[in-house]
């Protein structure tokens, strides 16, 4: 595809349930990022993957959050035992890290998560 895609676009779940959010980055992009945008808030960094390096998990808010990137492409963000404060838009971005574009991050449309 031409851009970063995310699925689902909307997810409503009940408190305590686990959810999986998917990101398909731009083909060939080596770096992938997850951010969270809470209502009325800026974007908050969650986790970053670059090639085969260990991911930077420094932004994950709790151990209920985890992410993986399979085959250097698709990434899944998993939230276990969801809480109401997890309600937010989860955004994925990718970039050709170290490329001539100055590491411009291209964002997907996001997944809006609502925890009831």
């Amino acid at each position: 595809g031409a851009g970063v895609s995310q699925s689902p676009s909307n997810k409503v779940t009940e408190k305590g349930k686990d959810v999986e959010l998917r990101c398909d980055p731009i083909s060939g992009h080596t770096a992938l990022y997850w951010y969270r945008q809470s209502l009325g808030q800026g974007l908050e960094f969650l986790i970053y993957f670059q090639g085969n390096s260990a991911p930077d998990k420094s932004g994950l808010p709790s151990d209920r959050f985890s992410a993986e990137r399979t085959g250097g492409s698709v990434s899944t963000l998993t939230i276990q035992r969801t809480q109401q404060e997890d309600s937010a838009v989860y955004l994925c971005a990718s970039t050709l890290y170290g490329g001539p574009g100055g590491n411009e991050q291209f964002f997907g449309p996001g997944t809006r998560l609502t925890v009831l």
């Binding site: 970063v4 770096a31 990022y33 951010y35 808030q41 800026g42 974007l43 908050e44 960094f45 970053y48 670059q50 930077d56 932004g59 955004l91 971005a93 970039t95 890290y97 170290g98 100055g102 590491n103 411009e104 991050q105 291209f106 964002f107 997907g108 449309p109 996001g110």
Partner: protein, 114 residues
């Protein structure tokens, strides 16, 4: 030290006017300062970006002014149009360190009145 502070939270400008959004940062290791534009229901899109070796960068109606000593940068939108109505985020990162992860400001909701 990782914070980026953005103001104002919201801004109303008449068509044809100048919109100005300001940001301040603490970490002097930041070396990349992009501005992102976000429309409702969409992901942010890069508008314009600057490195600290220049004090100003202009692309069309959009200009970034950068003051390294004050650790501040601002976005100027000249001849603002209703189509510019969106949320604008400033950000900062270490381009080739810490994975280039972006630290965002809180956002400014711009409304341009016809």
């Amino acid at each position: 030290q990782q914070q980026v502070k953005q103001s104002p939270q919201s801004l109303i400008v008449q068509k044809g006017g100048i919109s100005i959004i300001n940001c301040a940062y603490e970490n002097t290791a930041f070396d990349y300062f992009p501005w992102y534009q976000q429309f409702p229901g969409k992901g942010p899109a890069l508008l314009i970006a600057i490195r600290p070796d220049v004090s100003e960068k202009k692309e069309g109606r959009f200009t970034i002014s950068f003051n390294k000593s004050a650790k501040q940068f601002s976005l100027h939108i000249m001849d603002s149009q209703p189509g510019d109505s969106a949320t604008y985020f400033c950000a900062a990162s270490m381009l080739y360190n810490q994975g280039g992860k972006l630290i965002f400001g809180q956002g400014t909701e711009l409304s341009v009145k016809p």
